[in-house]
């Protein structure tokens, strides 16, 4: 986020940004985090609106702060705006990504919640719920993979990979509070061990 990555955003670019997150909204089954690989592909690889470092920093900051993880999406828009020229653009970018991602799913949820609750024994509802389970799980693991390979880079820093693998293992197998893990990660990083 310290790096300058100046871009220029026209009105149609903002619209594209908004519409892309609108299109992701209804695909975010299993949480916003499952759309991270696609956001990386779009924002970093295709449009070059964010650097890979900015992308990963945004996720790390949102993880370190309290609240729903989805707020990393607000930081993506905020950073695109900062790259494009400053405060108002940052607010506009944040509005594009957050409203785009939340509006369609929020409306759909409000409308269909009662229906889904009433019909939870219906065969189609059960099939959807169960059928998506292996996909949702694989998407979360894939997200961890994409994040790791993006930030650990082609240099193949084995100690970063090790830290990721160990924290995944500890989180998976124990009930240790994740704040401890994040804190240990911060200390290791600050000391330059990883």
């Amino acid at each position: 986020m310290n790096t300058l990555h100046a871009i220029s955003m026209q009105a149609q670019d903002w619209l594209h940004l908004f519409l892309h997150f609108v299109s992701l909204s209804l695909l975010a089954v299993g949480g916003a985090i499952t759309t991270v690989p696609d956001m990386h592909r779009y924002l970093v690889d295709q449009q070059n609106w964010l650097t890979s470092e900015q992308f990963n920093t945004a996720i790390a900051i949102a993880q370190a702060a309290p609240g729903p993880n989805v707020l990393f999406v607000a930081l993506f828009g905020w950073n695109v705006g900062l790259n494009a020229g400053g405060g108002w653009a940052a607010l506009l970018g944040m509005a594009c990504t957050m409203l785009g991602l939340l509006l369609p799913s929020t409306i759909l949820t409000s409308v269909s919640t009662r229906w889904g609750h009433r019909n939870r024994d219906l065969r189609a509802v059960r099939a959807f719920k169960q059928g998506m389970a292996p996909i949702v799980i694989a998407l979360m693991v894939a997200t961890g993979w994409v994040l790791s390979s993006a930030q650990h880079g082609p240099r193949g820093d084995w100690n970063l990979w090790l830290l990721t693998a160990v924290s995944a293992l500890i989180m998976w197998r124990t009930r240790l509070h994740l704040l401890w893990l994040l804190g240990i990660g911060a200390i290791l990083g600050a000391w330059g061990w990883v």
């Binding site: 592909r41 993880n69 607000a74 099939a127 959807f128 998506m132 911060a186 990083g189 990883v194």
Partner: protein, 193 residues
Amino acid sequence: MSTSNAPAPARPQPRSPTDLFLSFTWLALQGFGGVLAVVQNELVEKKRWLTNEEFVEDWAVAQIMPGPNVVNLSIMIGDRHFGLRGAMAALAGMLTMPLLAVLALALVYTQYAHYPQVVGALRGMGAVAAGLITAAGLRLLPALRRHALGIPVCAALAVACFILIALLRIPLAYVLPSLGGLACLLTYRKLKP
């Protein structure tokens, strides 16, 4: 729902949209690294707005629906008690203060980004965060144990999804309707009507 007999002991309920807003704000601000770990504890154990069974049902629907699960859950609970006003109050509670906190943290980070220790600390936290997300997926694996498709088919679907997304970097918009649709269709055929 029955009107007979003695009135059931009063269930704690959100008193007003303001109550919803403040409760979800407090809930969200406890959730470092994600709210999921806190939400059951707060809504079922402390507030007692939901029983455990109701929570599991609601959580299932919140997961089925696209969008962030905890955000969906706040909308559902708010909507149930105060309609649209309640849903908006709960949603605003879940997002407003945490959003300010995240922006504040991002601004602080920009100020100190030239210290290598700060950059290093965030790199370390990023590596941990990637692990935490992986672990969140792995912790859901037991949900597949009694899956109608059986473990081998589930594993094949999951591995295919991982390869397409993580290794080949195919857009989610292609993978989810095709592979996800296939998975739902196969499951539908296996389930008893």
